[in-house]
């Protein structure tokens, strides 16, 4: 991160364009995506909160009565209320009053879509400021075109929103360090409060920010002492604001954050501490759900430590991962080498061991990196490390798959964007060298000069950009609406992942992929065993009109006309229930990506 670029007005417009394009894409592709299990629960909760908001408008005093508050907000109180409130308000205002959406379900999903668009825009802005516009644009595009993130960005859930709000808090903290003043620390505190009110992933934010502040301080001290001792060239001027800026941001997180959290979650307005304890306890002692990994069904600790890295490698496009690795290595070389050499030089006694003396000499030769008061690379790295770190514990549940570490993805994309920008610069050098070599070997000088000008122009970034983003776009769009079943070519795509025994789906959302079949084949007032689809998620398909309104969802296969089976290894018994009840092992309909069965529909032939 060699420089911090100021934003131009056009950057705001570009960011807006990124956000708008992403939201438009999400809206355009939402129609064939079924409703995930958790969405069903959040629809229900949002409706209760919506009723309370309506009551607040109609009779504020009664609505604010503690019993009324508790009655509404105790629903789904294992998660904070902010995002569900947005779902509720979107449904109340944008759908029921303005009728903006073709189907009701989209009105609940819309706030998360907008927040996802904001996330993409934020990645663009941060990448542009930390590096340059090319880095920002490529980071935003690579982030937007992560197949699993793209899926989550559609949903009326908290997983995509927390990615944005998490990154927003980290960004505000970074701006606090870089710019100083009072505004950004205050915004850091507010953003942290919003993150607390979005999802419990926010609990990792203080770890990241405190570690970062400590890391920056340690680095400064090492370099300053080495410089004073003459073991290294003078470092860049002392970090602007010293330790005051991070302290201001951290203080804001500690004070403003909880206030915002409290203000926006009515369930904790009463019995605050016991309820917070209950909330924390729910997540700290969360039950273990089943998850297949490499052919084995995990349902109780110890969980596999390789889960997060392997699943990341299997689901994030390879080109994005390679660029991330290159960006991380470049940043480490640029930012770590100098302080490490300085530290080694400090430890090396006069006439000490050869290796340390060599380090001392290296420290004396190394130039300090460019000034970066925001400690950008360290912050991005810690944001990734803190999130992934949790999954190295064998007691961390692995259900939920990739969504639980998606908060690291903006930072992976930012490193990738920085690497892409550096690669373009290097490619220009390479192209010039190639062309000069051609000129030297007899090519016409005019042609070579014109070609060298081409190397400086937009052609190189455009071609490289197209080559880099093509696979992520293809994979992301191809994955829809099967994103939880999609895997990258690194593991052989969806069929390769099935061979390896990687989880094929969860959450029962793939019912959306068989509505056309059900509408055509289920008899009038017929019944369908809905398996893993949550009742409210099924109801939303009916309310949307995507499913015929006379089709009835039932909770057991016995007596049903049709039975759904969403494939998960530990749920195979559900398919066997249908075999015995319907007297057949032959599904009437199958759907899934690339020839891999994900959802089966069994037909009761006795009906």
């Amino acid at each position: 991160m060699k420089r911090s670029a100021p934003l131009a007005p056009s950057d705001g417009l570009i960011a807006l364009a990124f956000a708008a394009a992403y939201v438009a894409l999400l809206l355009a592709t939402a129609g064939d995506l079924g409703y995930a299990r958790d969405e069903g629960f959040y629809f229900f909760a949002a409706n209760r909160y919506g009723a309370w908001f309506q009551a607040l408008l109609d009779a504020p005093r009664a609505a604010l009565d503690p019993q009324s508050v508790d009655a509404a907000w105790s629903v789904n109180h294992e998660h904070p209320g902010l995002i569900k409130s947005l779902f509720a308000l979107s449904n109340l205002v944008l759908q029921k009053r303005l009728g903006l959406f073709a189907v009701e379900g989209t009105s609940y999903r819309f706030p998360a879509m907008v927040l996802s668009g904001v996330g993409v825009a934020l990645v663009y802005l941060w990448g542009t400021q930390a590096r340059d516009r090319l880095a920002g644009a490529s980071a935003a595009a690579l982030f937007a075109m992560l197949p699993r993130y793209f899926y989550q960005a559609h949903l009326a859930c908290f997983d995509a929103p927390i990615v944005t709000v998490w990154a927003l808090c980290a960004y505000a903290y970074w701006r606090s360090l870089r710019d100083g003043g009072a505004l950004w620390p205050v915004l850091t505190g507010v953003a942290f409060g919003l993150a607390l009110d979005t999802k419990h992933n926010s609990w990792f934010l203080p770890i990241v920010c405190v570690s970062h502040a400590v890391g920056m301080e340690v680095r400064d001290r090492i370099v300053a002492r080495a410089s004073a001792a003459g073991a290294a060239p003078a470092a860049s001027p002392a970090r602007a604001g010293g330790a005051r800026r991070p302290l201001a941001a951290l203080a804001a997180m500690a004070t403003i954050g909880p206030l915002v959290f409290y203000a926006l979650w009515p369930w904790i307005w009463r019995d605050t501490l016991p309820r917070l304890r209950e909330y924390a306890s729910f997540h700290l002692n969360h039950e273990y759900y089943n998850m297949e990994f490499l052919g084995r069904n995990y349902w109780t600790p110890p969980m596999p430590r390789a889960y997060a890295p392997v699943m990341t490698a299997a689901t994030v496009p390879l080109v994005t991962l390679c660029l991330f690795a290159a960006g991380l290595c470049a940043a480490a070389r640029e930012r770590l080498l100098h302080p490490l050499a300085c530290a080694a030089a400090r430890l090396a006694p006069e006439g000490g061991r050869l290796a340390l003396a060599a380090e001392r000499a290296l420290a004396a030769r190394l130039r300090p990196p460019a000034d970066d008061p925001g400690g950008t690379a360290l912050l991005w790295f810690l944001a990734i490390a803190a999130v992934y770190g949790a999954w190295f514990s064998p007691s961390t549940p692995i259900f939920g798959g990739t969504k639980h570490w998606m908060t690291a993805y903006p930072f992976i994309a930012l490193f990738a964007g920085a690497a892409f920008s550096a690669a373009v610069r290097r490619a220009r050098v390479g192209l010039r060298a190639l062309l000069l070599a051609r000129r030297g070997s007899g090519a016409r000088a005019g042609v070579a000069t014109r070609a060298a000008a081409l190397a400086r122009g937009p052609l190189v970034p455009a071609l490289l950009g197209a080559a880099v983003i093509a696979a992520p776009i293809a994979e992301t769009l191809h994955a829809h609406p099967w994103a939880l079943s999609s895997y990258t070519p690194l593991v052989g795509g969806a069929p390769g992942a099935a061979n390896l025994g990687l989880n094929r789906t969860f959450w029962g959302y793939t019912t959306g992929a068989v509505v056309a079949y059900l509408n055509e084949h289920v008899p009038p007032r017929g019944t369908v065993y809905i398996h893993d689809t949550a009742g409210p998620a099924w109801e939303m398909l009916l309310r949307d009109g995507r499913l015929r309104k006379d089709i009835r969802g039932v909770g057991a296969v016995a007596g049903a006309d049709f039975a759904l089976y969403h494939h998960e290894k530990h749920m195979l018994g559900q398919a066997y229930q249908a075999w015995v009840a319907f007297g057949t092992t032959s599904p009437d309909h199958i759907a899934g990506p690339d020839g891999v069965p994900v959802i089966l529909v069994y037909r009761n032939r006795a009906r």
Binding site: A423, G430, V460, A467, T584, P597
Partner: protein, 328 residues
């Protein structure tokens, strides 16, 4: 001493040249390597997404399979995850429940393996290839079992009043055969399906004897005789007029979601032939789909015998016990 200035200058010039070379190499790497990586991933994505046959393509194997398969042959799909596509295309006639939820492969004289993506069925590893045919993305191989068991009588096929009856012992009561019982299935996380044809015992719907399918420790289907032990005494299934081989062999297990908790009491299966105990198998939680085999001694080869399977447990809570057996 005169400082070696010319040497230093030469060294600096060399370093600069080397740095330029490195920059050029990195430049070329970025210029060519990055597009190669991106385009390579795109090509790989297209390749892998089109590699497996789509669901309708499985109908192509029906004709070659019918030509290759002989009566009694097992049909196996490799990889296993493609099995539903084959079952949809080929139907129950070629892939009946009895085979799909088989106890193991030991009784089959031969199997036809339908393979895609170069996969092989591990369970047929010891079988010998007798015929092979390729059809598009499919490879069909007829594999012969080098030592198939000859099953004389399969108890699971005979859970019906014509050949069996069921009783509980404490208090003694007969279990009534109901050919049109209300099918019951536990739904998400619940019990396996209780079929329409079953013996119904006192104590509620869980106390019945009928043929169902459970999921074993690998969640594979296992067709078996549901035999939940009663609170007290035994639940006894008696088969009459059974021709005997030299052993009674079988498997027992519980719906794995129950068994894996390892909180339940052991369940004991006693096998009696013409009133004489020939063996007992005690199933502890965690055993999974476990095999048992009892030599029949003097009863071996009898043309007609009465065979009883009695199931009991010290604590009947959540004992979703299910067994299969044959004599061979």
């Amino acid at each position: 001493m005169i400082p070696a200035k010319p040497r230093e200058t030469a060294s600096a010039a060399g370093e600069a040249t080397s740095a330029r070379g490195r920059r050029r190499a990195l430049g070329l790497l970025a210029l060519l390597g990055l597009p190669a990586l991106g385009v390579g991933e795109l090509v790989a994505h297209v390749y892998f997404s089109e590699r497996a046959p789509d669901f309708d393509a499985w109908r192509e194997v029906a004709a070659p399979l019918a030509a290759m398969k002989q009566p009694g042959d097992l049909v196996v799909v490799a990889p296993g995850w493609a099995d539903p596509a084959a079952r949809r295309a080929l139907g129950d006639e070629l892939m009946p429940l009895r085979d799909a939820a088989r106890p193991d492969e030991s009784r089959y004289a031969a199997a036809v393996e339908i393979s895609v993506l170069g996969q092989r069925a591990e369970e047929l590893a010891g079988f010998r290839e007798a015929a092979r045919q390729e059809r598009g993305p499919f490879v069909l191989r007829r594999l012969v079992n080098p030592s198939p068991a000859r099953v004389v009588y399969d108890f699971v096929d005979n859970v019906a009043p014509a050949s069996a009856d069921v009783r509980v012992t404490d208090p003694p009561a007969a279990c009534r055969w109901n050919p049109r019982a209300r099918i019951a299935a536990g739904g998400l996380g619940g019990n396996p399906t209780f079929p329409a044809e079953r013996f119904e015992c006192p104590g509620g719907p869980f106390f019945n004897v009928g043929v169902t399918v459970i999921a074993d420790e690998e969640f594979r289907p296992r067709r078996c005789i549901w035999s939940h032990p009663p609170k007290d005494g035994e639940i006894v299934t008696r088969f009459r007029g059974v021709p005997l081989g030299s052993v009674i062999r079988g498997h027992a297990g519980m719906y794995w979601m129950i068994e894996r908790e390892r909180r339940g009491a052991p369940v004991t299966l006693s096998v009696r032939v013409d009133g004489e105990a020939v063996g007992e198998a005690t199933h502890a939680d965690g055993d999974g789909w476990a095999v048992f085999e009892f030599p029949l001694g003097a009863h071996a080869g009898a043309a007609e015998a009465e065979v009883e399977f009695a199931v009991r447990s010290a604590d009947y809570t959540h004992r979703h016990y299910c067994f299969e057996a044959d004599t061979r």
